[in-house]
């Protein structure tokens, strides 16, 4: 287009004229090769018509003259690397498609079934088919619990795909990388960032984490000191004692509270020994054959005892009660037995002081002492303490407890304590008990999840009978459970 305007420049000129209207701006002349055709009539027509004429020609030129852009090799996007893992077997792929598009087990149990599928796939060392990547990633985006097990089956294609969609960026976050946070930015980081940094560092290098905490201890505000001190709970040991002792002298009550709680976990600490001294002074026994343990109320504490936590009680709380609880929570458990010569069962049986019992229970919990837990459980059901027993013991106690619960709510709460997977016998007892508890009220589909995760496959027929008695043509949670129990072996089979 020598001499005249190019089509683009002309079109822009038409645009400017059109913007403000032909009433105010003249219509530009077209580029040379077109001018005789378009302008020929221009003299005889109004400027509106010549603009419209020009637009008609211009749009035809633009639409017909479109070209692609040239992409230099350096700008080409990298394609996915070939996959490394073999493809999942055909039956397994069909099952995955079924779960992703029309799951037979209902929305609650589908993530569990997908979890089973994914774990089996990872165990078999295979990848999913490309067509299932999008629905699978979509499902795992909606259900974060699935994410960790999705990652190993994605292979190169899947991880390439995720790198292109921000919604799936969690895939790369899940991949364990060493980026535990930057210790160099300690001074300038927020308390949240520091606290998560400390937590992860405590798992690998507790000393370095402690040193970091120590480095800003004198300058951090009280709330930050309390928060950060709490992270010592991970990987806690006697090496942390000097810092904790210092925290006992802290100005802020919140920091001191955190320190008491942490020192309670260290029966070998100097504070534990000091509290053992106090406790020993309160204990006495009577009787010879069957000794009874007596516990006096604590006396007015000295300055050292106040420093160890025997301070002023909050409003409404008995002063001596608080001291009693603090002593019982912090002293070594052995103090009770060594001073009195009575075993844990005997001690618990004779203890009547509620504050002492509360402190003792706390000490048992944080030190995870199974013998004492058993002794406490003998006098009353305590869900938290059951977890401290060896699995067989737990199962026996939980199953006994199940016989006593009267509501579906209690039933569900108790069932959660039963360590999975359940034996055939345990499963049978669980289902039998459920039958007596009006399973039609099983709207709490949460319970179905617990059952699905742990029931022995042999319980399927019993659940089936139970499901059949429940009314209605709709698929109840129980029927989904039946489907689930039969689906799981099929999934496992599909990877053989």
């Amino acid at each position: 287009m020598s001499g005249g305007l190019g089509v683009d420049a002309w079109w822009n000129g038409l645009g400017s004229a059109a913007l403000v209207g032909t009433g105010r701006r003249e219509v530009p002349r077209p580029p040379d090769p077109l001018s005789d055709r378009v302008v020929a009539r221009a003299g005889e027509t109004s400027s509106e018509v010549s603009l419209l004429d020009a637009l008609a020609v211009g749009t035809a030129l633009r639409r017909g003259g479109r070209t692609g852009r040239h992409v230099p090799d350096s700008e080409r996007e990298a394609a996915a690397e070939p996959d490394r893992l073999p493809l999942a077997p055909a039956t397994a792929r069909q099952l995955l498609d079924l779960l992703l598009t029309q799951s037979p087990v209902g929305p609650r149990l589908t993530p569990l079934a997908l979890g089973v599928w994914l774990r089996e796939a990872a165990r078999a060392g295979v990848r999913v088919h490309h067509a299932s990547l999008v629905p699978l990633l979509t499902a795992a985006t909606a259900t974060p619990e699935l994410r960790e097990s999705v990652v190993p089956v994605l292979d190169n294609r899947g991880s390439w795909l995720c790198s292109r969609n921000p919604a799936w960026s969690w895939v790369h976050a899940v991949v364990p990388d060493a980026r535990a946070g930057d210790t160099a930015d300690w001074a300038s980081s927020s308390t949240e960032v520091r606290s998560s940094l400390l937590r992860s560092l405590r798992r690998t290098d507790p000393a370095q984490a402690r040193d970091l905490l120590d480095s800003s201890w004198t300058t951090d505000p009280a709330a930050a000191r309390a928060d950060l001190l709490g992270t010592l709970e991970t990987g806690l040991s006697l090496d942390d004692e000097p810092l904790l002792e210092r925290a006992l002298d802290d100005r802020a009550a919140g920091v001191r509270e955190v320190a008491y709680g942490l020192l309670d976990r260290l029966p070998g600490s100097a504070r534990a020994a000091r509290l053992a001294g106090l406790l020993g002074g309160l204990l006495s026994t009577s009787g010879v054959v069957r000794k009874k343990v007596h516990l006096e109320l604590p006396r007015e504490p000295d300055a050292a005892a106040v420093r160890d936590g025997l301070g002023k009680a909050p409003k409404g709380r008995s002063q001596r009660g608080l001291w009693m609880e603090r002593i019982a929570a912090g002293a070594p458990l052995e103090t009770w037995t060594e001073v009195t010569g009575v075993d844990p069962v005997g001690v618990v049986r004779s203890l009547e002081d509620r504050d002492a019992l509360r402190g003792l229970r706390w000490a048992v919990l944080v030190r995870r002492d199974a013998d004492w837990a058993r002794a406490l459980l003998d006098v009353g059901w305590d869900a938290a303490l059951v977890g401290l027993l060896p699995p067989d013991d737990v199962a026996r106690r939980v199953l006994d407890r199940l016989e006593q619960v009267t509501t579906l709510h209690e039933y569900a709460a108790t069932l959660r304590l039963l360590p999975p997977p359940w034996s055939a016998e345990a499963s049978a007892r669980v289902v039998k008990r459920l039958a007596k508890l009006d399973p039609s009220a099983l709207g709490t589909a949460d319970l179905v999840t617990v059952l699905a995760l742990s029931l022995h496959p042999s319980a399927a027929p019993a659940v089936q009978r139970l499901a059949a008695t429940s009314e209605g043509g709709r698929l109840t949670p129980l029927q989904h459970l039946v489907q689930y129990l039969s689906l799981v072996p099929t999934i496992t089979e599909a990877f053989r």
Partner: protein, 435 residues
């Protein structure tokens, strides 16, 4: 009739909610008396009521019937039954013939269809009165003449006042112009003007878009004024742009080709209140590509999409107009084979070239089909081996296409529209997974 694909069922659902509800019903639990023949699928579904719903599906239509009160069509029961059926795991057993409630319905339908076909063939029931018809055409042309003249004035007013001012107009101003065009029996222009009203408010490049549309409309105005001098093909193209439909019966009789047609790809879109389904067919012998168009109201059912890669034996009648031509099935197509690979294609430059030729013949051509060889789908463009790229137009399953190709070059079929490319079908052979 071959079993449908899962995709075909999904596309038959009127909306996502019905599909989801159908999926929940796609378990054997609530079903009884289910079965299927070549052309029928049926069953009884236990719903919330006492008596189970009777569901029948005529696969040839496809047509659906269910005794449930749902106003969705097809309802969730029909979708659920189809999902159960396509799974092919024996939950819906093959049978020689259906139960009474299903077969009698199918028979009535077939009978009615035959009667209609008979009417078309003999024309006995509705004798065409050529004089009356000519009168109707004359009336319409008079209306259109007046409408076009008024529209020309509207366009000149618009450019005199300027496009900035047009952008400031409320939607009702564009709607009013649209309504006048509807009254003048110019529904094609009417839709365009109404759409333009919302586009100028939505698009960043509204100014260029508006200029293009003004140019196209003005081309149509000028062409209509000179219609006496236009050849038949261009006249037909103009009629499509203005929205003067050609009666299907006229098409059926006119330009029919018998042969084998490969389904290259399909696309569904929702334009305002109307759903559109475009299916591109390629004649196996001549290589000509034609376009099937189906329409349905927003919540209505579109016919099940033809399985991509299948080859159909059918008589296809073509509408008048220039390439790519719209067509319809003059006879019910029979599936000859499935899984045909895409034919050899071209570079992006060549495809743009054929788009330009199509525009030269018909300046209103909205899009043309194109098979691209060894094309890679990048994040927002498609790149061919020469390094030429054009933007990708958004499609619903863009991520699935990315997952399937992995960014590797493969044969891709799609539509070239406004200088962009809408991928519809990919040939998986070169990147296929070894199962």
């Amino acid at each position: 009739m071959t079993r449908w694909s899962l995709q075909a069922v999904e596309k038959a659902a009127p909306d996502a909610a019905s599909l989801a509800a159908g999926r929940r019903l796609a378990t054997p639990g609530p079903w009884s008396e289910v079965g299927s023949t070549d052309s029928l699928v049926w069953g009884r579904c236990q719903g919330s009521g006492r008596t189970p719903y009777q569901v029948s599906i005529d696969l040839t239509g496809p047509a659906y019937r269910c005794s449930c009160p749902s106003r969705k069509f097809p309802c969730k029961h029909a979708i659920g039954l189809l999902l159960l059926w396509v799974r092919g795991d024996g939950a819906v057993a093959d049978a020689a013939e259906g139960p009474d409630f299903a077969s009698s319905w199918a028979q009535t339908r077939a009978q009615r269809a035959a009667e209609r076909a008979g009417e078309r063939a003999t024309g006995t029931d509705k004798p065409v009165d050529p004089e009356a018809r000519a009168r109707r055409v004359e009336d319409r042309i008079r209306l259109m003449d007046a409408g076009i003249a008024e529209f020309a004035l509207w366009l000149t007013d618009l450019v005199r006042a300027g496009t900035v001012q047009a952008k400031r107009r409320p939607l009702s101003w564009w709607d009013a112009a649209g309504s006048r065009l509807v009254d003048a029996q110019l529904p094609g222009l009417a839709d365009r003007v109404r759409d333009l009203g919302s586009q100028v408010n939505r698009r960043d490049d509204w100014a260029d878009h508006l200029l293009d549309q003004l140019g196209l409309c003005w081309t149509a105005v000028k062409a209509w004024e000179r219609r006496a001098h236009l050849d038949e093909v261009t006249l037909a193209d103009l009629r499509v742009f203005l929205g003067w439909p050609t009666a299907t019966d006229d098409v059926r009789g006119a330009d029919a080709v018998e042969g084998r047609w490969q389904v290259l790809g399909a696309h569904r879109s929702l334009d305002g209140r109307l759903q559109q389904q475009r299916t591109w067919l390629r004649a196996v012998d001549s290589g000509e590509t034609v376009l099937l168009l189906d329409f349905a109201p927003r919540n209505g059912p579109l016919p099940a999409a033809r399985l991509v890669g299948s080859v159909l034996e059918a008589t296809v009648a073509r509408y008048p107009g220039s390439w790519p031509r719209r067509a319809l099935f003059a006879t019910e197509p029979a599936v000859v084979s499935t899984g045909a690979p895409l034919p050899a294609g071209s570079t992006i430059d060549d495809a743009l070239g054929s788009s330009a030729s199509a525009l030269a013949a018909n300046p209103w051509t909205p899009r043309v089909p194109a098979v691209l060889d060894r094309a890679a789908l990048a994040t927002d463009e498609v790149v061919d081996p020469t390094g030429t790229a054009i933007p990708l137009l958004p499609v619903e399953d863009a991520w699935t296409l990315a997952a399937l190709t992995g960014g590797r070059a493969t044969t891709v079929f799609g539509e070239i529209e406004e200088g962009g490319f809408r991928p519809l079908t990919i040939d998986l052979d070169p990147v296929g997974e070894v199962g």
